[in-house]
């Protein structure tokens, strides 16, 4: 259900398109990700888990992420500008983009016992 909501918000998030031009810093983003508590539900590697979906690799576009983060009424609590600046959000997105793809499941023997 959350992703349906997400799609709707992504459309609404066109207003944030100017943010796409803002080049975030992956280095700052890693620190901001921890500082703002994103790790709590999504893990320190943005891998996701039972409390929140994966955010990386291949994160959603910044516009969609921003729209969702600001307006969510789903399981995730919203982060308004007062507690998470757009600059920090862009940095976080840059860090998420920098994360490498996960290894294929067939290359991990422990997942194929």
């Amino acid at each position: 259900m959350w992703f349906v909501h997400l799609l709707a918000l992504a459309v609404a998030g066109l207003a944030f398109s100017q943010m796409a031009a803002a080049a975030g810093s992956a280095e700052k983003g890693k620190a901001a990700y921890v500082k703002h508590g994103c790790w709590q539900c999504h893990g320190f590697a943005a891998q996701g888990g039972i409390a929140g979906p994966k955010l990386a690799p291949e994160p959603m576009p910044l516009e969609a992420l921003s729209s969702f983060v600001r307006n969510t009424r789903g399981a995730m609590p919203p982060y308004q500008e007062a507690i998470l600046s757009s600059a920090d959000l862009a940095d976080i997105h840059a860090w998420l983009q920098s994360l490498p793809k996960a290894p294929g499941t067939k290359s991990i023997p422990l997942l194929n016992p």
Binding site: A51, Q80, L110
Partner: protein, 655 residues
């Protein structure tokens, strides 16, 4: 009560008086004697010489105290307990039950039950909780008066919510006219069982030995009749210590225990349920505490295959093999037209979702997970034992065919009724349903593996990596995952081949933190006797409630591999406080920690491996690099196979 025979009271009180008098003599020297000693001494000694009384008390042969004539009442109590084959009595020692303690270890030769030394009453009950879920037999635990029972209360509540029988026997000095002053008074109550009455199936306060025999066997029988549950017996200190009265030369009799057959669903309702299931396009089975025994698992597989119905195992017990193609995730209810719930204490929560999103004045929002018109069937024994004050259900859920009965006991009749209700022309369609289920199962497995691969090499160690390294280390053994606390994103249920009932024991029941450590030790005790290998995923916050149970495991040589999910926080609360801060548009105060003030367990970090070592465990850590985990696990497994408990302190991702 039991002290009305004045001739018998005297002996006990003389004994106590003697103890008090001796203590007073040792502590006080009469002033006149002190003065005489000082007058004759050339100079003041560094310590006063003992008076004659004190010297005699310290060096002489004590006068033999009068012994209680006849067979002590607590010996008879042990005779009663032995008829029920109760193997262990994990307890924290205490004066209010000193008489039965003495009888268990001396008269009873410390066998059936064997007294196990615990460091907290919550540990004793928690061990009994875990033990039952492996052995299928209850243990008894002794609690010290008001204080002990209050310590035990949280664990009793978990057992209540988890439908687990535990026989809690509390010492109490009931007779206010005779009990010793001071501590025994503070530790006694008029109706001590009232402390736990709201979350026990039954309790009693026997006032004679004959009464005790009946009460204890009755308590056992009630606890062991589904729905199972804890029971409490208050044991008067006087009754324990006084000798058996002579009933014309005969001892009080001990009633024979005959198990009560579990309640079954009404036969008419069973037929109606079968009719609905046989005619359904997409029936779904949801099970929580349905399989009480391995036979229950077999029956559930039989029903599922007969209908080719997908099964959602909510995990209160191991109800259905995770390797079976009909095993399904919770979302499977969404496409069902008939759902049968087996031992769901809260059916509403199975078919509705709740989102903690701050709307509706902060209450959050609900939504149905199922299609309108979906027919609901329930077989649940908890309906036979509902109390008012504590409730483990949410909103009222209307059920089309509700049955108050035990699911496992009802399944044979339901299976036969379904066989009779399926028309021949439906069988092809049912088989086709199975093909779709196989495809969905295979796809689900691949999705789970892909999710597990994310963050595979992360540090701290990812929970998927933790679980799969652990499985690799124990897979060649007859393993039993005795507890998985602290939420590791449910990886064992998603990826481990959980097929046997002892592969998964469920959770605490009441979500009372502090269950994992003692329940693991209790379950490992049962597995030790069955030759199985026990492994637990032990969270940090849970362990710190009563870590003394680690010592109990070492003391009694209970082999257990505890692998820590050490995320350095009460992580559920981390997320709760963050959520509320966001709802209120406030930057959360971290106070220098990772999580909001009051939720982190860091600065300093607890060195759990040292804690375990100090209590006699083999331990290693902290392990932060996943590449080091496999080798450490191999070492730990070897230690556990040698009969010792072992702990690995692993720093982990939050979930």
């Amino acid at each position: 009560m039991a002290r009305k025979d004045s001739g018998l009271q005297v002996d006990r009180r003389r004994f106590l008086t003697g103890v008090v008098a001796a203590g007073a003599a040792a502590a006080m020297t009469p002033p006149a004697t002190q003065a005489a000693d000082q007058a004759t001494a050339p100079r003041a000694p560094s310590a006063l010489r003992p008076s004659m009384q004190v010297a005699a008390a310290e060096t002489g042969t004590p006068r033999e105290l009068a012994r209680v004539p006849g067979l002590p009442g607590s010996d008879f109590m042990v005779d009663v307990i032995k008829t029920l084959d109760i193997k262990y009595c994990p307890s924290n020692c205490a004066s209010s039950y000193r008489a039965i303690h003495e009888s268990i270890i001396n008269y009873g030769a410390n066998r059936m039950p064997e007294f196990l030394t615990c460091m907290h009453e919550e540990s004793g009950v928690g061990m009994a909780h875990g033990y039952f879920k492996v052995a299928g037999k209850p243990l008894m635990t002794l609690c010290h008066g008001t204080v002990g029972l209050q310590h035990a209360a949280m664990a009793v509540y978990n057992a209540w919510c988890d439908r687990v029988p535990v026989i809690v026997v509390g010492g109490n000095d009931l007779d206010a006219a005779h009990r010793p002053p001071g501590v025994p008074t503070f530790h006694s109550a008029q109706d001590i069982n009232a402390l736990v009455r709201d979350f026990t199936k039954w309790d009693d306060t026997p006032v004679s030995l004959q009464h005790f025999a009946q009460s204890f066997v009755r308590a056992y029988k009630i606890a062991m009749t589904p729905p199972y549950g804890p029971v409490a017996i208050s044991l008067d200190a006087g009754l324990q210590q006084e000798p058996m009265k002579n009933h014309g030369g005969e001892k009080p009799y001990i009633p024979r225990y005959v198990p009560t057959a579990p309640p079954q669903g009404d036969s008419g309702a069973v037929r109606e349920a079968a009719r609905l299931l046989a005619g359904a396009q997409n029936p779904v089975i949801v099970a929580d505490r349905a399989a009480r025994t391995p036979e229950g698992v077999k029956l559930l597989v039989q029903l599922a295959e007969l209908l080719q119905a997908r099964v959602i195992d909510q995990g209160g017990r191991m109800n259905f093999p995770r390797t079976h193609y009909l095993s399904a995730p919770p979302t499977a209810v969404g496409s069902a037209d008939v759902i049968i719930g087996l031992e769901l204490s809260d059916f509403w929560a199975t078919v509705n979702s709740y989102t903690d999103n701050g709307v509706n004045d902060g209450i959050g929002s609900n939504a149905s997970r199922i299609n309108s018109g979906t027919r609901l069937i329930s077989i649940c024994s908890v309906e036979l034992n509902t109390k008012a004050n504590y409730q483990d259900f949410q909103r009222f859920q209307v059920i089309d065919v509700p049955m108050a009965g035990d699911a496992e006991a009802t399944l044979p009749a339901l299976i036969e009724a379904v066989k009779a209700a399926i028309p021949n022309e439906r069988k092809a369609a049912i088989d086709k349903r199975g093909e779709a289920a196989r495809k969905a199962y295979a796809e689900g497995r691949e999705r789970a593996k892909a999710a597990a691969a994310l963050g595979w090499d992360a540090s701290p160690v990812g929970t998927a990596r933790l679980c799969m390294e652990l499985y690799a280390a124990v897979k060649h053994l007859d393993w039993s995952l005795v507890a998985s606390e602290g939420n590791v994103s449910n990886w064992p249920n998603r990826l481990w081949p959980i097929e046997k009932q002892h592969h998964w024991l469920g959770r605490s029941g009441g979500y009372g933190v502090g269950y994992g450590a003692p329940a693991s030790v209790g379950a490992a005790l049962a597995n030790r006797d069955l030759g199985r290998f026990s492994v637990s995923i032990q969270s940090d916050g849970d362990l710190m409630y009563a870590p003394g149970v680690l010592w109990t495991a070492a003391k009694h040589k209970i082999p257990l591999l505890a692998v820590m999910h050490n995320n350095r926080a009460y992580h559920q609360e981390v997320m709760h406080v963050q959520r509320l801060s966001n709802f209120r548009n406030r930057v959360v105060n971290l106070g220098g920690d990772m999580g909001p003030v009051g939720t982190s367990i860091q600065n300093p970090d607890i060195e759990y491996h040292k804690l375990a070592e100090a209590m006699g465990w083999w331990a290693k850590g902290p392990i932060k690099d996943p590449a080091q985990l496999g080798a450490a696990l191999q070492e730990a497994v070897a230690v556990v196979k040698s009969g010792q408990p072992a702990l690995l302190n692993v720093w982990t991702q939050p979930r």
